[in-house]
């Protein structure tokens, strides 16, 4: 199938604009993060909806407490009650307005980003994840999409810049150093398993970017709680450690089965393309290692003494393996997993 050059060009423009819009969104959100009220104050004023949704109590130091107080019918005199549903203060502060604009910009960026992926697919006449540039683009899109979905449920808008940072960096590298022109893929990649396996792997990895960021923030927050001298600026404006922990856990348990499914599909595809379902190819190894690390994370969450900090570290390691897999294995080693063009 011939490549449609003009669609491909539009795709590139769309990609570039998405990166630019994400950057702009980051700036807006950093303004909110820097000049907005600190987490505590903000939480008291703003997170009523979230409190009702996720049971994260304002000022409560753990879920258990929060649930008890928020959800008991007995009134709780020593704390101001939060009425679910009453969200808005009529006068929004300026940083908050910046935050809202930032969030709107993320949505716009995501739409442009989606556009670039879809156009790429039409331009090349195949699933738009046949080389590293395209794969990274999809991973980043899934990460942003996950973040937007989470933003509706958790009071985390002001943290968006932390998630956008790796996204923008990855997209920048993808769009420059790893850029590949739209083209059909080589014979071994021509399979419907390309669609299934790579989309599952990219979705899994994309979602896993979020718990990686959440766990890092969790660690900063915890370090600050232990020693108030550390991460002073940052930690004061972060939400409760517990919220970050739950964010990491929930996203991990969504991503883990998807990632597992992706690996299994890869094995099935490898069986029909390379003659064996598992051959310890570098890419397979790192995927396996990352998988084992996330399994360890889930175990740590269920093991006394390993919850909290250690679990968060494990999640960060898992994230590092995912990124390592993206770059190192594709660029440095020569496995069978060669993507066209890079």
């Amino acid at each position: 199938m011939p490549v449609d050059e003009s669609l491909s060009t539009f795709s590139d423009w769309s990609y570039g604009s998405a990166v630019a819009v994400y950057l702009l969104a980051m700036i807006f959100l950093l303004v909110e993060q820097a000049f907005g009220r600190t987490a505590r104050a903000a939480a008291a004023g703003r997170t009523a909806r979230a409190a009702a949704l996720v049971g994260a109590g304002a000022g409560g130091s753990s879920v258990v407490q929060a649930d008890q107080t928020d959800q008991s019918d007995q009134s709780d005199q020593d704390r101001p009650r939060i009425t679910p549903g009453v969200v808005s203060t009529p006068q929004r502060s300026r940083p908050e307005r910046f935050g809202r604009m930032g969030a709107a910009l993320i949505v716009l960026g995501a739409l442009l980003h989606l556009g670039s992926i879809v156009l790429r697919g039409f331009a090349a006449g195949r699933a738009p994840w046949g080389n590293m540039y395209e794969y990274m683009s999809v991973v980043c899109f899934v990460a942003v999409g996950t973040w937007l979905a989470l933003m509706r449920k958790f009071p985390i808008r002001r943290l968006s810049a932390f998630t956008l940072l790796p996204v923008v960096v990855l997209m920048f590298i993808g769009g420059t150093a790893l850029y590949t022109t739209a083209a059909p893929v080589q014979p071994s990649l021509q399979s419907y398993w390309l669609v299934v396996h790579v989309s599952a792997a990219a979705s899994g990895s994309g979602v896993l970017l979020v718990p990686g960021v959440a766990s890092l923030l969790y660690l900063a927050r915890k370090a600050n709680e232990r020693d108030p001298g550390r991460f002073v600026k940052l930690a004061a404006r972060l939400p409760e450690a517990d919220l970050l922990d739950r964010l990491a856990y929930r996203t991990t348990i969504i991503a883990f089965p998807v990632y597992t499914f992706g690996i299994f599909c890869g094995a099935i595809w490898a069986e029909s393309a390379w003659g064996r379902f598992w051959g310890w190819d570098p890419k397979e190894i790192v995927a396996f290692v990352a998988w084992v690390v996330y399994a360890a994370y889930l175990h740590a969450r269920a093991t006394a003494g390993w919850r909290g900090n250690r679990a968060a570290w494990i999640n960060v390691v898992g994230f590092a393996m995912t990124v390592f897999n993206l770059f190192f294995v594709n660029l440095v080693t020569t496995g069978l997993h060669s993507y066209a063009g890079v």
């Binding site: 949704l53 996720v54 049971g55 879920v63 258990v64 649930d67 008890q68 959800q71 008991s72 019918d73 007995q74 083209a183 059909p184 080589q186 014979p187 071994s188 021509q190 399979s191 398993w193 739950r246 856990y249 929930r250 348990i253 883990f256 089965p257 597992t260 499914f261 299994f264 094995a267 099935i268 595809w269 069986e271 029909s272 393309a273 390379w274 003659g275 064996r276 379902f277 598992w278 310890w280 190819d281 570098p282 190894i285 790192v286 396996f288 290692v289 084992v292 690390v293 399994a295 360890a296 175990h299 740590a300 969450r301 269920a302 093991t303 003494g305 390993w306 294995v329 080693t333 066209a340």
Partner: protein, 541 residues
């Protein structure tokens, strides 16, 4: 567990010594099967697997491995001794996963027993103080205790429930849900175990081999899986000695590759015929369109199209007029442009005397380009497709060394024969298709045409379907155990005011998630709201 039981009888004979041993073994076993150990072992597994991605592995590329060792001196040799180039068959990697899976079994057995017990058990008694639970609601309603309980029973349909009457006359319902989580978790871990066992068995019974055949339907285009010797390269499983190969034959009639203008291939396709089973005795050939991603599956084996290349045909006309023609595969020198190199060797015709023969063997070596471009007289290729084929050959005459007993590469000549002067270069020339060169003794060598070869891989692994089955189980178990939350809810009703005169009832609802707390709050709130609403409505009924 087995360790535990096997030592028990001896422990009875000499309680003190063996008692200590028993205690030691028991503690070891407990330690090994503790979650913390599993966690540590998982880490070690991840860590232990990494070198395989960072260092060359012998099973994937032995030449590269040897090169790496040579380049890194004592350090390279040390890593070799520590089995870092054979990570996945190394003693230490095996030790990690065997320990991990022992731990897994030790963890699964008691959990399965516990699971079976809980299957039959009733939900636990209602705790004395529901207000202490993570989730709690209380309300006083205008309905009788009976009505409230009836309403609660209706609402808790689908939960496993038990009712109790307590000492002080209060009545309660305990309800539990999400038992499937444990089911999923066990299925997941057993699936994992199954995969490992199937994978290990695969290592015993599988085999894999590569063979190169010409893609022209002629005499060298057929391969039969009748013996290990028919392969160019063969990797047997631990118990495969070559007598258990499942017989089948394939014949390659043609090969087509398609390329983009950039030279990137877009499609490979081999037109083959095969016979297996009864077809072998009747001589029936069945056609198959062999492609990358679409192997031929037959007789328990799979045949894959691995790669392809060119085989130039040369014809030698000896001074006496006899002709010999030979076509043999040349290997890819550049996988993008398919510039190839090789050696086509000729024995002189009708020369029974080995001494005489060894003086006049011929070898045509050099480069083949499917689409020739010249830099001066240096040949290279600009495109992988057969557009303007040419060869740049060196012709050697003398003793090829084929009688020496040493193995020879089919792609090159034995350099030591050249060095010792027994094999001499007699000509060098670039030839386009149909061109020939005349040697000093009048022998003519003509570059006749070009055939294509394909390399086929045959794989046999009787356990791989089991791996798939266990993988599917594992995934189903995983999703179930991550989606389902195990949670409990209790409803206690107490007549208000103690004397029972008021007709009002105090309803208390408590909730607890057995597993991760995340997310139970929402559901609890919903259920408790509905229970209390139903209790209020219960007044009318």
């Amino acid at each position: 567990m087995s360790t535990d039981q096997s030592t028990r009888p001896s422990a009875q004979h000499s309680p003190s010594r063996f008692g200590a041993l028993l205690a030691f073994l028991r503690n070891t076993w407990r330690g090994l099967t503790a979650m913390r150990t599993a966690l540590t072992l998982l880490f070690l597994l991840a860590l232990g697997a990494m070198p395989g991605a960072l260092l060359p592995q012998r099973s994937l590329n032995s030449a590269k491995t040897d090169q790496y060792i040579a380049d890194h001196g004592w350090w390279g040799r040390l890593l070799d001794r520590l089995q870092f180039y054979d990570v996945y068959s190394s003693v230490w990697f095996s030790a990690i996963y065997i320990l991990l899976f022992t731990s897994l079994i030790g963890c699964l057995l008691p959990r399965t027993v516990e699971y079976a017990r809980q299957l039959r058990a009733k939900p636990v008694l209602t705790p004395r103080n529901l207000a202490r639970l993570p989730h709690h609601r209380q309300s006083t309603v205008d309905a009788s205790a009976d009505a409230v309980l009836t309403a609660a029973r209706t609402r808790l349909r689908g939960w496993r429930v038990a009712e109790h009457t307590e000492e002080d006359g209060a009545r309660s319902i305990s309800a539990e849900r999400g038992f499937l989580r444990e089911t999923g978790n066990l299925v997941f871990h057993f699936g994992l175990l199954g995969i490992l066992v199937a994978f290990a068995l695969g290592g015993i019974y599988k085999y894999e081999g590569h063979v190169i055949v010409l893609a022209n339907g002629g005499e060298n285009s057929e391969f039969c899986n009748s013996g290990v010797a028919n392969y160019d390269y063969f990797v047997p499983g631990l118990s495969v000695d070559g007598t258990q190969l499942s017989p089948f034959c394939v014949k390659v009639n043609g090969f087509t590759a398609q390329y983009l203008p950039t030279g990137q291939p877009t499609s490979y396709q081999a037109d083959i015929q095969y016979q297996a089973g009864a077809d072998l005795s009747t001589g029936t050939w069945r056609p198959y369109d062999l492609r990358v991603n679409s192997p031929l599956r037959t007789a328990g084996d799979r045949v894959y199209l691995l790669s392809h290349g060119y085989a130039p045909r040369f014809t030698v006309t000896y001074p006496d007029g006899t002709q010999r023609s030979n076509v043999i595969q040349w290997e890819q020198a550049d996988p993008i442009t398919l510039l190839s190199s090789g050696a086509t060797k000729f024995d002189p015709p009708d020369t029974p005397d080995p001494e005489q023969r060894r003086k006049s063997q011929l070898a045509i070596t050099g480069l083949f380009a499917p689409t020739a471009v010249y830099d001066g007289t240096v040949l290279s290729s600009s495109f992988p497709e057969l557009r303007d084929p040419a060869v740049a050959v060196d012709i050697y005459r003398g003793d090829l060394g084929s009688d020496s007993g040493r193995g020879q590469s089919i792609y090159s000549i034995d350099q030591s024969m050249v060095d010792s002067g027994r094999l001499q270069k007699v000509a060098r020339k670039n030839l386009a298709l149909g061109e020939e060169i005349t040697l000093d003794d009048g022998t003519r060598v003509r570059f006749d045409n070009v055939e294509q070869w394909v390399s086929l891989q045959v794989s046999h692994d009787p356990t791989q379907n089991w791996v798939l089955v266990f993988a599917v189980l594992m995934l189903l178990g995983l999703v179930t155990s991550l989606v389902v939350k195990r949670r409990r809810i209790w409803v206690r009703v107490t007549p208000a005011g103690g004397s029972g005169g008021s007709g009002r009832t105090v309803v208390e609802v408590g909730g607890l998630a057995r597993t991760d707390q995340a997310g139970y709050g929402e559901e609890f709130t919903k259920v408790a709201d509905e229970l209390l609403r139903a209790a209020r409505a219960g007044r009318e009924s």
